[in-house]
């Protein structure tokens, strides 16, 4: 089954998974020491840590599949913006704590559905990573969902801020459900689900939480795209990379 797929497509798919966690992990790590309460500092560091761990697995496998001897670190620290394949939502600046948690929830919900399916992948390596990551994702979505509910159904101000965050972020969600040729090829090889098929479960989960949070999904059907295929990232990614990759760029070829 998986044999029918050419390696470049699998490589691209793995980048999409790994860049999602890499970039979101980075954004979350920017919070270090600046959370509203100590318990959240711990939770955010923990989330970032899990995401970086998942990145090591996805990009590690990507490098293997590519077969050019690139390590997970090479892929993380030595590609420029156009070669990144994360969904746009994940590279947006953190905004306030509410926006950070709203994004986390919108992504965690996707991860938990996606990883659940990937555990059935015809590629055993993909299935194994998914199995490990899905435990973390289940914990993340519970926590971020809980916080979204608490803040959505909190004070007037916290409700307003969470609704604004949702309005801002929701047009970026659709990108996670649009299959292009790569996604289709990977789905046909049984390696991953067709992204469109995740939507129902996702909408149910997200709908449940947002409703408990007394928040409304904004109207409008426009979907921002361009991250997962690298066609057009936002201006924010380049700045993120200039921090993230600084040492590897300034002192190439060192061991750290």
């Amino acid at each position: 089954m998986a044999g029918k797929l050419d390696n470049p497509s699998l490589f691209e798919f793995l980048l999409r998974m790994g860049d999602n966690t890499l970039i979101l992990g980075h954004r979350v790590s920017e919070w270090c020491g600046h959370a509203p309460v100590l318990e959240e500092d711990i939770a955010l560091a923990n989330t970032a840590l899990d995401l970086i761990g998942q990145t090591q697995m996805w990009l590690g496998l990507a490098g293997e599949v590519e077969g050019k001897g690139r390590s997970a670190d090479d892929l993380a620290f030595l590609r420029d913006a156009w070669d990144f394949r994360n969904a746009l939502m994940l590279e947006l600046p953190n905004g306030d704590f509410g926006q950070t948690l709203m994004r986390q929830f919108l992504f965690d919900a996707w991860q938990v559905v996606m990883l659940g399916r990937l555990m059935q992948s015809t590629d055993a390596r993909v299935a194994a990573i998914a199995a490990k990551a899905s435990k973390e994702a289940a914990y993340h979505v519970e926590r971020s969902g809980h916080t979204v509910v608490g803040l959505g159904d909190g004070t007037e101000e916290s409700h307003r801020r969470m609704q604004e965050a949702l309005d801002y972020l929701y047009p970026y969600v659709g990108e996670l459900f649009v299959s292009d040729a790569i996604d289709t090829a990977v789905a046909e090889a049984g390696i991953a689900p067709k992204l469109e098929t995740l939507r129902e479960e996702y909408d149910a989960l997200v709908g449940r939480v947002l409703s408990a949070a007394t928040l409304s999904i904004p109207g409008g059907s426009y979907v921002h795209q361009g991250g997962r295929d690298g066609r057009m990232h936002t201006e924010h990614l380049g700045h993120l990379l200039s921090s993230m990759q600084w040492l590897q760029r300034a002192y190439p070829g060192c061991e750290w």
């Binding site: 890499l22 980075h26 790590s29 920017e30 270090c32 020491g33 600046h34 959370a35 509203p36 309460v37 100590l38 318990e39 959240e40 500092d41 711990i42 560091a45 923990n46 970032a48 840590l49 970086i52 761990g53 990145t55 090591q56 990009l59 997970a72 670190d73 993380a76 620290f77 306030d96 704590f97 509410g98 916080t147 509910v149 608490g150 803040l151 159904d153 909190g154 004070t155 101000e157 916290s158 409700h159 801020r161 921090s243 993230m244 600084w246 040492l247 590897q248 002192y251 070829g253 060192c254 061991e255 750290w256």
Partner: protein
């Protein structure tokens, strides 16, 4: 001395832990609150110099290690605030005192992290110095504090080893990495020596704290112990010693070394360190920007509780 005081001091002298419900002198309580609170604040503020490099960690593994470390530190902050709370002060009160400049945190965090080797140095040298203090404090007279120290020391020792490992990679790396390591060592050395506080002769709280076993060893004793354990590690890395005054003293079987510039120490304590303004600005902003979050979560919890009561 009243009966209560005598009984209290007897317990202390016989190494029986003082527990939250036990009677204790007001000054003992106050001193402990100050000391434990300061320690808790240090864990929290201590996230900032490391956070400064989390976004620039050079490999995924280093980033993960650093994230795990700051997570632990925030956790230590939690234990310590809890320990202080057993003395009748709330975490929020202590945070407010910090933000008003009425409580301190360790001055070491008023020094910047300027290159990646600093992150190794924070683990090795700074946590190393903290451990020397904390190992002694495992025997402190106040039960909750002593138990927190036991737990914290374990994790800190792990951090110190990881820090030394990261630092070694730098010291044994490229020419530039080696230069970073030496630079970090040179900058951090004296501020680390300051972590043990002024010389015993000038230490304000020393004697009474020793009698109460809030403090278990003197500043100078601890500092000497730290120097003695650290110099061989520096030598092992093949780096230059950060102080030309360091020399093995055959007679007393300790290293001689130069004292830090105490004027600088007091300047930093007064708020003139390189990062005092930045650190407090960051913490106060985090707290103020987070007010709506704390309010929102609290309001939600109350609604939930009310619903639960109504449903019963």
């Amino acid at each position: 001395m009243s009966d209560e005081e005598r009984e209290f001091q007897d317990k202390v002298d016989n190494d029986i832990k003082i527990e939250p419900r036990d009677w204790m002198p007001e000054d003992y309580r106050r001193t402990l609150i100050r000391q434990i609170g300061q320690h808790a604040h240090s864990e929290v503020v201590g996230q900032l110099p490391e956070g400064n490099w989390i976004t620039r960690a050079p490999t995924l593994e280093r980033k993960a290690i650093l994230l795990a470390k700051v997570q632990d530190e925030a956790g230590h902050g939690l234990y310590l605030y809890s320990a202080a709370e057993t003395l009748g002060v709330s975490r929020d009160e202590m945070i407010e005192l910090l933000h008003e400049g009425k409580m301190k945190y360790s001055s070491i965090f008023n020094y910047p992290t300027l290159n990646w080797a600093d992150i190794g140095a924070v683990g090795w040298l700074v946590d190393g110095a903290a451990i020397v203090n904390q190992v002694a404090l495992q025997r402190t007279s106040y039960g909750p504090y002593a138990r927190a120290m036991v737990r914290i020391c374990k994790e800190e020792s792990f951090h110190a080893r990881q820090g030394y490992d990261a630092f070694m990679k730098m010291a044994q790396g490229s020419k530039e990495q080696r230069r970073m390591a030496q630079d970090a060592l040179n900058r951090m050395w004296f501020p680390c020596l300051m972590m043990f506080g002024p010389s015993d002769a000038e230490s304000v709280h020393g004697e009474q704290s020793m009698a109460w076993k809030i403090k278990v060893k003197s500043n100078d004793e601890l500092r000497q112990q730290y120097v003695d354990q650290t110099i061989p590690q520096i030598d092992y890395l093949g780096l230059d010693r950060p102080d030309p005054g360091i020399e093995w003293n055959e007679e007393c079987e300790h290293y001689d070394f130069s004292m830090p510039d105490w004027k600088e120490f007091f300047d930093v304590i007064k708020g003139n360190g390189p990062c005092n303004r930045d650190r407090m600005r960051d913490r106060v902003a985090a707290w103020e920007d987070g007010q709506w979050v704390r309010d929102g979560l609290l309001a939600h919890a109350r609604k939930r509780a009310a619903q639960k009561v109504a449903a019963e």
